[in-house]
Symmetry: C2
Subunit: 462 residues, 2 copies
């Protein structure tokens, strides 16, 4: 019997997935050009105890484990690996508690994020994080990747709402981190060490989330600009104003054309950039007026303000269509970089130069308020030269972000896509610190091996 077969034989047969089609569907997430393979086997545990039993066995026998939520990731963090046991959280799908006085929600990892948000809304509260995949991604995947979204400019990222976790460690022991209280400094912040660790340090089996009061309906501002320079002036003006927008998004010319081509929304196709802004504050009307004024003063071609809820949803939908619209132009390679927000225009100019040099179409959209941009490279995967150009462009864009004082990933994570880039961003001491943490929690490197970090040789004694 193989090692993996040994593990499977000792687990409850009800949790072992046998449907070959289903197993094959777990070969990779939504990323492109990331290493992947059909998993050796798939288990779908129904409880923390079954996750613990699984990891206890894989640790004993030495089988690698890949944890998968909805598989909506864009960096390969949930890709299958030959011979691995893939653990899907899909049956850990219950919201365990909502407490409107303490404003906390306790959930299992396999719940779809939109359902977490809907449950919070049902209690008159809000769970803010809204990654683009909110309708399909799971809260466990969101926590494991510290997912972002459009809300971040005002509300922060997933990790800002995680008070505590239950995690099954590599050897099957069950760890509880954090707390249910608003504050607490008892010991190290292990909670946020697991947040964003992409399944490499443990398997998250429960999360205690912080909720906030539901905001008012937002007021929305849509501003079009003739060129990036004018949009950049508006970004700086808004960033230094007293208004905190709840949405602060940018779409470039290529993206606008692609969106308009897919779903005509009446955009003037000669515009060079669009800013989409919202305020959901108590003074949303005054905020919208100020945002609008800043855009006009910065040289906007047109500025439209709306306080209509349905119109606001339609405008946000246009933004959510950016990636699907760009996907229609060909094969795509999506980047995710974050720069200081005053450097966004430099980043976009650099991307324009890269696109020209490589003769590629690159659409850019993203979270201007955070400096977090998603350059989307369009190419022809069947054409070797085009593929090579796309990879060069991807590297050039990531390098540009680092040069501008940015980071190689704003919200999609390292996964299998950017391990080399992480090494470059961290430098040797940072990389060593990461490997040390990995080895402390997973000495056999069995949890999602190859994701975030490459394994190093045996550690020198101190």
């Amino acid at each position: 019997m193989t090692d993996l077969g040994d593990v499977l034989a000792r687990l409850p047969h009800e949790i072992v997935v046998t449907d070959p089609e289903l197993i094959a569907s777990y070969i990779r997430d939504e990323s492109r050009f990331t290493e992947h393979a059909p998993p050796g086997a798939v288990v779908a545990p129904r409880s923390t105890a079954e996750v613990a039993a699984t990891l206890s066995l894989t640790h004993e026998v030495g089988v690698p484990v890949v944890t998968r939520g909805a598989g909506s990731g864009l960096s390969g963090g949930a890709n299958g690996l030959a011979g691995c046991l893939l653990l899907t959280t899909k049956r850990l799908n219950r919201i365990l508690e909502v407490d409107p006085v303490e404003r906390i929600l306790v959930t299992q990892p396999g719940v779809v994020t939109a359902d977490v948000r809907a449950t919070a809304a049902g209690a008159g509260l809000m769970y803010p994080p809204d990654p683009g995949s909110v309708a399909m991604s799971t809260i466990g995947g969101n926590v494991a990747t510290n997912a972002g979204g459009m809300c971040c400019v005002k509300y922060g990222v997933t990790g800002d709402y995680v008070l505590g976790l239950e995690v099954v460690l590599a050897d099957g022991r069950i760890l509880r981190t954090g707390r249910r209280t608003m504050k607490g400094v008892a010991g190290y912040d292990l909670t946020h060490l697991f947040v964003g660790s992409e399944g490499t340090l443990g398997v998250i089996t429960e999360a205690t989330l912080r909720l906030v009061p539901a905001p008012r309906d937002p007021h929305t501002v849509l501003a079009t600009f003739g060129d990036l320079t004018a949009a950049g002036r508006a970004i700086d003006g808004i960033s230094t104003s007293r208004v905190t927008p709840s949405v602060f998004e940018l779409l470039d010319e290529t993206t606008i054309r692609a969106v308009e081509d897919r779903s005509p929304l009446g955009f003037d196709l000669t515009v060079g950039a669009v800013l989409l802004l919202q305020s959901d504050s108590l003074n949303a009307a005054a905020d919208a007026a100020e945002l609008s004024e800043i855009c006009s003063r910065s040289g906007a071609l047109e500025v439209a303000v709306s306080e209509d809820r349905d119109e606001a949803r339609a405008l946000l939908e246009a933004r959510r269509l950016a990636l699907p619209a760009l996907e229609r132009l060909g094969d795509w390679l999506l980047d995710d970089v974050c720069v200081p927000r005053s450097r966004i225009v430099e980043l976009l100019r650099g991307i324009e130069r890269t696109a020209a040099e490589e003769r590629l179409t690159i659409g850019v959209f993203g979270h201007a308020g955070d400096g977090n941009m998603h350059p989307t490279i369009i190419f022809d995967a069947a054409d070797h030269a085009s593929s090579a150009a796309a990879h060069r462009a991807f590297d050039a864009i990531t390098a540009t972000a680092l040069r501008l004082g940015g980071t190689v990933t704003g919200e999609h994570g390292i996964g299998r896509l950017k391990t080399k880039w992480l090494e470059r961003e961290l430098g040797p001491v940072g990389l060593d610190a990461h490997q040390t943490v990995k080895e402390a929690f997973d000495p056999r490197w069995l949890l999602n091996p190859g994701v975030v970090l490459a394994r190093r040789g045996p550690r020198r004694s101190p």
Copy 2:
């Protein structure tokens, strides 16, 4: 030559502190009943490079290192240890950068927190965290303890404003964590592993802090209640309202009497509890009206609303006087526990029972909006029975907080005061995870040994 003498001889003589009085003054922080001793020697490095040189030597030779900011801590985290090298950050006292567009401030650790706040204010921005010690504590100490304060109910704690750190590791290597951008998920969140680690994982030599727009002048509400039950109704009512107060403080009867006794502010001495509330939102006037209405509806005896800036400062000062006023009553032992905010009244009732049982005066004040309370036990240190009663009361209060779903420290940290309580809160798996992290970063247990965690024996192989 001793090991410590060897280290000192190899360091630049300008950084070695020789004044015996100064060295003696570093014997402990502001805590009571925590182990302390005069340090073996004191160094005051002037640069990150000098910190690195120091730790490189202490690591090589095997000398324990205690890092000290202003020494205002309340848990013994900066206490001297016999034979240790105490490293003071007082000469690392420059603010390196303020960027009003990116809204970041980069500072060395020895800068007083009030100066960080003043510098931010000079740029039209705010650095929110305001621990009680804000006028004397250093930003490095605040980061190392993840300090809180009155702002937390709206603005969060120190860690929520730390984007990145420079840390000298136990062996003298210089690690940079985090980023300068608003978002970023490149690798593990080592930044927040060092935040709150109380000098046990490395020495923080630089912090990149996030700033926010300066708020409006607040509106203040002061409400008095005949008993805790009525105050508890108001706490629940405010916690479930749409108002987010920027200050949400509670003072109990004992504390009110002590404050009034020290600095007469005109409080009715028959009241059982006072709530002090502020809103600095754009709708502060409406918020104050709503807070006031909730207090009245909950049975407040009197409710006063003020929009005057000086009056607001005077009222906050009354709250800041709580500890100094209680200190006048005798020797004191200050606790710091945090419970779900709906359990505050139960916590206070439990403290009342403990005070009656032990025949002690215990004043309670703190951050009602977070559930973070500071029971202050008054006793006679010269009387053995009274001291013993104070210790029993301290343990009983901490146990009550845990039983109510709380944590043993909301903001003061574990230090040397609560290591046993941390073990109880963490449980065996949590404690093991903490020790594993400690050993990963400080394999020789040389950084602030005995703080947060007790050393364990050699680790079993996995």
